[in-house]
Amino acid sequence: MLTHIIRKLLYTIPVLWGVVTAIFILMAVVPGDPARIMMGQRGDPDTLARIRHDLGLDLPLTTQYTKFLKELARGDLGMSYRNNEPVTTAIAHRFSATMRLAFWAMALAVAVGLTAGVISAAKQYSVFDYTAMFVAISGVSAPVFWVGLLLLLIFAYTLGWVPGVGAGDGSWKYLILPVITLGVRPAALIARLTRSCMLEVLNQDYIRTARAKGVAETFVIAKHALKNAMIPVVTVIGTQISELLSGAVLTESIFAWPGIGRLSIEALINRDFPLIRGTVIVMALIFLVANLIVDISYGFIDPRVRYDNE
């Protein structure tokens, strides 16, 4: 298992290097000069040249790339062009807000999705099953921004049950609507997949044997069926991490949530290359770590996976 983890960690290095190089090249070829944007609508060519020089944009691309890699190796993501703040500081200010949002959205999605999926499978063709799957299909189809605006309109501005936008004083009340908005789609996907996997497992012979031996149905589902149905579900949960991060961009905009998603949009609009690279690297790292955790969890869910690796 340890060898497996170390191997996975080592794989992340070339993957990260690939991501970093791809984003560097992309920023180099995409039109739009950050120095020009900083100047505003009209400017002075001499001032523009000086700004470009200060930002290092007049250096050859290979020099810029080498400089960037050297700084990255030191853990230095550079300075934001727009406000000259260290990129690490800019991201750190917002990282916990996005992680908080993503964590609770995923927790909600897993809790609701798994529960709904298991019950739907156990009570196939029941009212609960039909209702849950209808809601799940709606959840998968509904765009994030639409869900967010609808929730705001109903619960914040009409009923007044929860605060509107922003992070306020940091209390959990401000998390409710954004977490639901972000968690709806993954919850729907997990519910549908869990139901499907559970149904497949519940039709297996060993489940029939367990029932025939008089094992309580709750025990059959929780101990025998669920664990065997979990591998594909865990895989999907892993891929949902990246969905959550991209969905967080829209959710953060609607709810004025001060996270990395909004930061990355502003960075893109302003061609703030260090900030774009920094946010992409951080998101790539989060994705890689999440997938590593998913990979490791297979070994705990299915002991055969562990033996195969050894």
Partner: protein, 544 residues
């Protein structure tokens, strides 16, 4: 008789009470926090380094300029300079500074500033302007007409010889050549005085720890959420009855990216100033707020420019004029902008000094447009591409114009790009036709006509059409040095007539500006420049 006297007395007493109550309700009271909506986080709060209006909206409250624009934009008023005079040749400008103006004594939760709250002097102004060049302010070039600017930029001099502190309260500028709008330029919000000690203490991070002399001091900044300012108890301004300004306890920028959501927050009184209410909500806002919905035409123009360096618009005045006649500006304004902008007749909007109310401009005349198209060599129309920078409003306006031009047989393709790409391509002169807007930096026709249409300012400098007319250039150059304002206005009007005749643009709409304020807000006046330049000094709330 007794009963009548009693009745009269009662009426008088109640009448006096009523009058007293009414008067009391209109007396400014201290207290309240202004919560001002913005769609994005200000990138920085250093007035010398910021180039956007969100930053300007915030730093204007913490920093002071030498002079300021009147709310109607027609006059330059004293601010930290009490008076000024120019030499006979128009090259030397001397400013007498106001005494008793102090830098902020505390900041960020009561911490002492490095300058300790000392008085602002002429030396501080000199240092501030030199700092703009030393620290490569993107707005330093606004005063490049001051003698010695280039020497400082090139590093040949450590001191700006054209800016002198004659004594503690006298500041003098020597210009390379006479420049009539010089005082107007000094009203530009970025040209503020800053305290040397705090700038040197924080270095580049001064943008996150601003210290000025304005009505509010910097308190805190939660990135992407809120900027908080607090009343400056040592502010130099007082109201008419001698009371200390500002009345408000504080000011906050509240960042909400979605304007439709912000409108709901406004209705809940979570924000009390909302700029740029979406057009679709303006009718509702007017009904809800009455006179607290402030509207003013803005000194800016929304236009479509032709690239005069490339076909089909190069050397084809008739085609450009035809396209001007083909647009029904009134209908476009009503349909797309809910009537909030004003159909344009020329370059300069009505609020500009020098606006020519006799200028006819291009009316909607499809027959004339067709005739001109035929004379231009396109009797059956043509296909062109217009580049537009991305926004819902720009797309809607472009599509409305597209539909109107289609009636003339012109197939106008709309290419939507983001702002950075738009600027890039305009700088390189790669767009056949483009959308642009211009709102003045300072209220002088020079900032409209010279910046946008002089051939001395091609591309990045403002003239994206690469328009060139030697006679217009001559008039614009001369108007910069003439000191007689009436003569200047005459020259600008003549230049504008020629420009309109040449039609380097489709002169589409003049901007409007509006802001929603809660019903308890008093004394809020929308300045001609726009909401972002609204000072909060004498605004007060009828409720806390």
């Amino acid at each position: 008789m007794k009963k009548t006297a009693l009745l009269i007395s009662l009426v008088m007493v109640f009448g006096l009470l009523a009058v007293g109550c009414a008067m009391a309700a209109e007396t400014p009271v201290y207290g309240g926090v202004a919560r001002w909506h913005e769609v994005s986080n200000p990138p920085m709060l250093d007035p010398h380094m910021a180039t956007d209006t969100t930053s300007a909206r915030t730093y204007i409250l913490m920093f002071d300029t030498l002079v300021t624009n009147s709310d109607d934009g027609q006059k330059i008023l004293p601010w930290l300079a009490e008076s000024w005079s120019a030499s006979a040749d128009g090259k030397v400008w001397t400013f007498k500074l106001r005494k008793g103006v102090y830098f902020h004594k505390t900041t960020e939760g009561g911490k002492a500033t490095a300058n300790g709250g000392r008085e602002v002097t002429a030396q501080d102004w000199k240092w501030s302007f030199e700092r703009m060049i030393r620290d490569k302010s993107p707005r330093a070039y606004f005063i490049d007409m001051v003698d010695g600017y280039q020497d400082m930029v090139d590093g040949k001099s450590k001191e700006w010889k054209g800016v002198k502190a004659i004594d503690k309260y006298t500041l003098q500028f020597t210009l390379k050549e006479p420049f009539a709008p010089f005082v107007s330029v000094l009203a530009y919000q970025a040209l503020c005085v800053v305290p040397k000690e705090d700038v040197e203490k924080h270095g580049k991070n001064f943008r996150f720890h601003p210290v000025g002399s304005g009505a509010f001091t910097f308190e805190s900044w939660k990135q992407d959420q809120k900027v908080t300012l607090k009343r400056n108890p040592g502010y130099w301004r007082k109201d008419a009855s001698g009371k200390q300004l500002p009345y408000l306890d504080g000011f906050e920028i509240v960042v909400i990216p979605e304007s439709t959501v912000a409108w709901e927050e406004f209705k809940k009184d979570n924000i009390n100033f909302m700029r740029d209410v979406p057009e679709r909500q303006v009718a509702e806002a007017r009904k809800l707020l009455g006179k607290n919905f402030l509207y003013l035409p803005q000194p800016g123009i929304y236009y479509f420019g032709f690239n005069m360096q490339m076909a089909p618009f190069k050397d084809n005045k008739k085609l450009r004029q035809a396209m001007n006649y083909a647009i029904d500006r009134r209908r476009l304004n009503e349909l797309v902008m809910e009537g909030l902008f004003t159909p344009a007749v020329g370059v300069m909007p009505p609020s500009m000094p020098g606006f020519n109310k006799n200028l006819k401009g291009y009316t909607f005349d499809p027959d004339k447009a067709k005739k001109l198209m035929a004379e231009a060599g396109y009797p059956n129309g043509l296909e062109i591409t217009m580049q537009v920078n991305q926004s819902a409003r720009n797309k809607a306006v472009a599509e409305a114009a597209q539909a109107q031009l289609a009636e003339l047989g012109i197939k106008m393709n709309i290419k939507i790009v983001d702002w950075g790409v738009h600027l890039d391509m305009l700088d390189r002169g790669e767009c056949e036709m483009y959308r642009m807007g211009w709102v003045v930096d300072y209220l002088d026709p020079d900032n409209f006509l010279y910046v946008n249409l002089s051939s001395r300012n091609p591309g990045i400098k403002g003239n994206y059409s690469y328009y060139k007319n030697a006679e217009v250039d001559k008039l614009l150059d001369e108007a910069r040095v003439v000191t007689d304002q009436n003569k200047r206005i005459e020259m600008y009007r003549k230049a504008e007539e020629m420009i309109v005749e040449d039609a380097p643009w489709i002169f589409l709409l003049y901007y409007g500006n509006w802001i929603a304020t809660q019903k308890y807000v008093r004394n809020a006046v929308l300045p001609a420049f726009g909401d972002y330049s609204m000072r909060m000094d004498d605004i007060w709330f009828a409720k806390k």
